[in-house]
């Protein structure tokens, strides 16, 4: 199998594993790892755009121009993307720490419930946000003492 196909499979696999991790896991840190894997996969994919069979670095050594040169642009792009990814991961981890300190848990389901509860409390909505809650505003029926058969 030629290298590029293996690499494409690897990139796709990383994307797949990362997405699966984010979607299927409910633990915040695992989700963040999933993001890291996703970014790795995307970076690999971008890098593969510059792949050429048998290419070398595009540097002219002693006046000798290499026959096949690898495209340097995607490498630069990937460097930037990696740095961005690292920054975002750092931010995500610090937010995870804050969340853990505030809620005491890193389970996404519980975080979601607690957040929804907190939003409801801040907005002073008394009734629970449940799918069985009765209708809040009845726009059609108004108590009408003077209606009826006369």
């Amino acid at each position: 199998m030629d290298t590029s196909l293996v690499m494409y499979i690897a990139a796709g696999g990383l994307l797949l594993i990362g997405s699966a991790g984010i979607v299927m896991s409910s633990h915040l840190v695992r989700i963040i790892f999933g993001i890291a894997l996703l970014e790795a996969g995307a970076n690999l994919l971008l890098l593969l755009a510059s792949f050429r069979e048998g290419a070398t670095a595009p540097i002219i050594v002693d006046g000798h121009v290499p026959a096949i040169m690898a495209d340097p642009v995607p490498q630069a792009l990937v460097l930037t993307a990696i740095v961005i990814g690292v920054g975002i991961l750092a931010l995500a981890l610090s937010l995870a720490i804050r969340v853990q300190r505030a809620y005491g848990t890193l389970d996404m389901r519980e975080i979601r419930d607690r957040m929804a509860q907190e939003i409801a409390d801040t907005a002073s909505i008394d009734r629970p946000i449940s799918s069985h809650a009765p209708l809040p505003v009845d726009v059609t029926s108004v108590p009408s003492p003077s209606e009826g058969k006369g």
Partner: protein, 487 residues
């Protein structure tokens, strides 16, 4: 025209200097941000006057295209660059415990937003987009309540996934064409990108950039974030930042991806956005989330509008976008004191009559009642949708009309409760002078635009024509014929 880069450089430098300034003098640090933004807005306005009807390309670092990064200045990009600066200035964070951090983040937001609007290189756009994203994470989490952290991390997860999608899309584009310069892409697109790979790249980038543009279904972060972030930040995000992301998508659509399928995808997602947004707003029980869902609905309308092919679509979408850009921040300013349960707002007209009146005017414009500008924008969209004579576009029109009927109901349910309180209830607080002044200024601008509707419409038409003029874009960026890039 090179002064344009000051729009990016100045706020960035000031942002990094702010901590040092703060040690020296708090007053200086407090003033530095607004002053710098005022200067950049003024520079932006001045450049707008100078620009007239031309388009200019700034080659950064002197590197000629396609090797360097180009900044493309036409009326559309300059308009939004000025808008982000003015918006950040108007919605400048007020004094609180983390004033410094928020000021820094706001300045970086202004800088990166300007860059996002002006950039003409795909990866440069991605970098600025990520900058805007990271800064917005910081701003959203700046209210140090647990709910804010939770909302931010959920926002981050979706946004990071979206960024990955954009990167994948960029990879596909680069693989097909070998360049990331938008002008060269525009040249190469009919040959190289008019295929499956191009469409896939567009879909990925649409969904990726659509996270910020509140595209369905990546807009699940919107209600949570708007409910837990400071209201000024919500106003900024809903008002300006979402439009920036939308403009990026529109640029891609106009310049590079001309397939009708691309427009179909946008249309379908826009329709779903309007349906889910307006329906969800019907039962909203607190003010912030009602505005959030309404925002989703309005952005859905914009996506539907931009999905109309040709200059007509850009014109209609631009009208709706600019209208929303003024109305939403004003509404969020009103939400500063009115955030909270809608039932508690009964009788607000007593404590804040001006606020109630402003809300009614803004609501009327949002619904689309003549003579307010919102009506004319919606009329444009509907008329052009009707012209398409395809059932999906008709569905879009139907959905917009139904959404307006729903909007009228939930917005005026709130508005009429302002005037008729229940008997024994605490009245909601009055607005702070700063909030109500800025909201009044925005609303006054809205009402004033009714009187200059015709010239305004012509101007917008000109902007839209210029923005959809692909040959002009290519011509401006590189007047000479381009050598073929090495794939």
């Amino acid at each position: 025209m090179n002064n344009l880069l000051l729009l990016i450089a100045l706020p960035l430098i000031t942002a990094f200097l702010l901590p040092i300034l703060d040690r020296v003098s708090t007053m200086l640090a407090r003033l530095a941000g607004p002053v710098v933004l005022f200067i950049t807005s003024a520079i932006g306005f001045w450049l707008w006057m100078q620009l007239g009807g031309q388009t200019v390309a700034i080659q950064l670092g002197g590197f000629l295209p396609p090797l360097g990064i180009t900044f493309y200045v036409d009326q559309l990009s300059l308009l939004f660059a000025v808008a982000i600066n003015v918006g950040t200035l108007l919605l400048w964070p007020d004094d609180g415990e983390d004033r410094l951090r928020r000021s820094i983040l706001s300045l970086i937001l202004a800088a990166s937003g300007s860059g996002l609007a002006l950039s003409g290189d795909l990866f440069n756009i991605y970098v600025f987009y990520e900058l805007v994203a990271v800064v917005s994470y910081g701003l959203v989490a700046s209210k140090s309540i647990p709910g804010a952290y939770a909302a931010t991390i959920r926002y981050l997860i979706i946004s990071a996934f979206g960024a990955v999608l954009v990167l994948t899309g960029i990879a596909l584009v680069y693989q097909a064409t070998g360049t990331l310069n938008l002008a060269q892409l525009a040249q190469l697109a009919p040959d190289k990108l008019n295929n499956l790979q191009g469409l896939a790249a567009f879909v990925l980038m649409l969904i990726g950039f659509g996270v910020k543009a509140e595209l369905f279904p990546v807009n699940t972060w919107v209600p949570e974030v708007y409910a837990t972030a400071p209201t000024r930040v919500s106003g900024l995000l809903a008002g300006v930042v979402s439009k920036l992301a939308l403009i990026v998508i529109v640029r891609l659509l106009v310049l590079v991806f001309h397939q009708p399928e691309a427009q179909t995808v946008m249309l379908v997602l826009g329709i779903l956005g309007v349906v889910t947004g307006e329906l969800a707003a019907w039962r909203a029980r607190d003010f912030n989330r009602m505005l959030a869902y309404s925002s989703i609905g309005q952005l859905g309308i914009m996506f539907i509008a931009f999905a109309i092919p040709g200059q007509a679509g850009v014109f209609a979408g631009l009208a709706v976008a600019l209208h929303h850009l003024i109305v939403k921040p004003a509404l969020f300013l009103l939400a500063e004191r009115w955030g909270g349960s809608l039932e508690k707002l009964a009788g607000a007209a007593r404590t804040s009559p001006l606020g109630a009146a402003l809300f009614i005017v803004l609501a009327l414009s949002l619904i689309g009642v003549p003579p307010f500008p919102g009506f004319w924008a919606k009329l444009l969209v509907l008329v052009h949708l009707g012209e398409q004579a395809q059932s999906l576009y008709y569905l879009g029109g139907l959905v917009i009309l139904a959404g307006a009927a729903l909007e009228a109901n939930y917005l005026f349910r709130v508005a009429s409760s302002f005037y008729y309180p229940d008997n024994k209830q605490e009245l909601p607080p009055a607005h702070r002078r700063r909030d109500i002044t800025i909201a009044s200024v925005l609303t006054a601008g809205l009402v004033a635009s009714v009187f200059v509707l015709s010239p305004l419409a012509e101007r917008l038409d000109g902007i839209a024509t210029q923005a959809s003029d692909v040959p002009r874009y290519i011509q401006t960026v590189n007047p000479a014929a381009l050598p073929e890039a090495q794939p």
